[in-house]
């Protein structure tokens, strides 16, 4: 029964994805709704995502310097910080933090609408809830999560720079030169590429759980928790396979 549930759910999510992407492209484009969602989902997540990645960059610089002191590794801090952030920590941390925040918000919002029959009301008025609710959220997250990831990586590198200069006494030019010499386009493509996939996962799981909420306020609570847990696990697991895939493609 559980295996069957899982397969049904996966199939439903695939169907919802297809409908959401089709609705995104269908006229009229609901750009006003998209921008509203970008503001709500993206801009308001900037603070929390920025703080997380800045401090991660600072910690990376410290850890690198103190765990391998003998190798003169100080002068490579720039590339260690930048590569770790851009390839891995930036996209994953941003997705986990932003996903927890906005994925659960989507489930709570749509789930409440489901249990109070607002979704049915929309359907009864010949309006597609996927077009009105899911597509704008998907579009907004697909734009905002990669943007937040890029900004986050930038802030992380800056955080690393501060630690390198003021605590480890590495010259700023050395730190930055090291990054410029070692960070490749492939690193950036791999990181940003991941964040597009994470964005899709966050929006679809958040919306899917909302649309399938049952049983009043209690049900909304359960669906919201379920979203946070499912997102965290799905992001971590898919990250491994995305990394693997990317390495395969590049080599």
């Amino acid at each position: 029964m559980r295996a069957r549930d899982f397969i049904t759910r996966t199939g439903d999510i695939a169907l919802l994805s297809g409908r959401a992407f089709a609705a995104m492209a269908a006229r009229p484009l609901e750009t006003r709704l998209w921008f509203a969602q970008m503001e709500q989902l993206g801009v308001r997540s900037l603070g929390v995502a920025g703080i997380a990645t800045t401090f991660t960059g600072m910690v990376l610089a410290l850890q690198t310097a103190y765990s391998l002191p003998s190798l003169g590794v100080k002068y490579y801090i720039g590339s260690v910080v930048a590569k770790s952030l851009v390839r891995e920590l930036g996209p994953v941390l941003t997705a986990l933090i932003v996903g927890g925040r906005i994925g659960s918000g989507m489930t709570a919002e749509i789930g409440t609408m489901t249990v109070t029959e607002q979704i049915d009301a929309m359907r009864s008025m010949a309006v597609d809830p996927v077009k009105k609710l899911v597509a704008p959220k998907l579009a907004a997250v697909l734009v905002m999560l990669p943007s937040l990831t890029v900004i986050g990586c930038g802030l992380g590198i800056l955080g690393g720079l501060l630690v390198a200069v003021f605590q480890l006494h590495v010259q700023a030019s050395v730190y930055l030169n090291n990054i410029v010499q070692n960070l490749t386009l492939a690193d950036v493509v791999s990181g940003v590429g991941k964040s597009f996939v994470f964005a899709y996962i966050i929006a679809i799981i958040g919306c899917y759980n909302g649309l399938h909420t049952e049983g009043g306020a209690d049900g909304v609570g359960r669906a919201t928790t379920d979203t946070v847990v499912t997102l965290a696990i799905t992001i971590m697991i898919s990250d491994y396979f995305l990394t693997k895939l990317f390495i395969l493609v590049v080599s």
Binding site: E117, A121, R123, M125, A126, V127
Partner: protein
């Protein structure tokens, strides 16, 4: 529950005589079957809804009334049987193909189901903005007209959370009326309201019927409301209609369960029992 309510006694001479021969069926429902968790909630319902009438489906909590209503605009699909609306079988239609029907068939939900992120004005304007090319000024005029009709002329700028239960239902009714539908489906329009507000809603449903030339389907367990608004009634119990006809026939019916319900004898007691048995 006054059995000699003046509102249901006089209509039979005109309403059925006029309705039956002239008015063709707007909805033709045959063999409607729907089950949940291995139990058939609806077990082969057959009924017609005639153009221009107010058809009441009466039944206890959990008897499948809402499930029946949701088949009429395709919100739910039956397991077997067919629903034909104005010559079109809607049972096999995809969601998107149901949209033309849903513009003609509006539904009032039990809790109103107003969008709580929008003002009452935007709620009523929502279907107009979605489906018409009216200018904002024309939309404003139309919203004002509909809110006036449900006697909420001042409620436009308010949020749904600022309204009482009765006001919320009236605002939702205004939204249902926005596209001037041919059919109105009412899901338990008086549940959760006090008797005075319930009576006001009943009156509103009658007025809408009289002034707007709509076909109405009302599902309820409120006998007062049913008597007040219904031209014909069906009594749903255990997946079947135990009775279907006009009020005069209902009063003559020998069905004991219907008799008990119409006299209000066992009704309240059983209703309490039924609702306490709900999960």
């Amino acid at each position: 529950m006054p059995p000699d309510d003046p509102l249901h006694a006089p209509p039979p001479p005109q309403a059925p005589d006029q309705a039956r021969p002239e008015a063709p069926a707007l909805f033709t429902v045959r063999g409607l079957t729907k089950g949940f968790a291995g139990r058939n909630v609806l077990d082969g319902l057959d009924f017609d809804i005639l153009r221009g009438e107010t058809f009441v489906i009466l039944g206890r909590s959990g008897s499948g009334k809402s499930v029946t209503l949701r088949q009429l605009n395709g919100l739910d699909k039956p397991d077997a049987g067919s629903v034909v609306f104005d010559g079109t079988d809607i049972t096999g239609l995809e969601e998107r193909d149901l949209y033309p029907l849903r513009r003609r068939v509006a539904m009032l939900f039990q809790g109103g189901a107003l969008f709580d992120s929008m003002t009452v004005f935007d709620n009523v304007a929502f279907p107009l903005r979605e489906h018409t090319h009216l200018s904002e000024a024309e939309i404003a005029a139309k919203v004002k007209e509909k809110l006036g009709l449900v006697r909420l002329p001042e409620a436009g700028p308010k949020m749904p959370s600022d309204l009482s239960g009765g006001m919320r239902k009236r605002a939702a009714l205004a939204r249902s009326l926005a596209l001037d539908p041919e059919v109105l489906l009412y899901d338990e329009p008086t549940t959760g309201l006090d008797p005075i507000t319930s009576a006001a809603i009943g009156k509103l449903i009658r007025q809408i019927h009289r002034h707007l030339d709509v076909t109405q389907v009302v599902i309820t367990h409120d006998l007062d409301l049913a008597q007040h608004v219904g031209d014909r009634l069906a009594y749903l119990s255990e997946g079947h209609f135990r009775f279907l006809g006009d009020w005069a026939a209902a009063k003559r019916s020998s069905d004991p369960e219907l008799g008990d319900m119409l006299s209000g004898r066992e009704w309240e007691e059983e209703d309490d029992h039924a609702s306490s048995a709900q999960p």
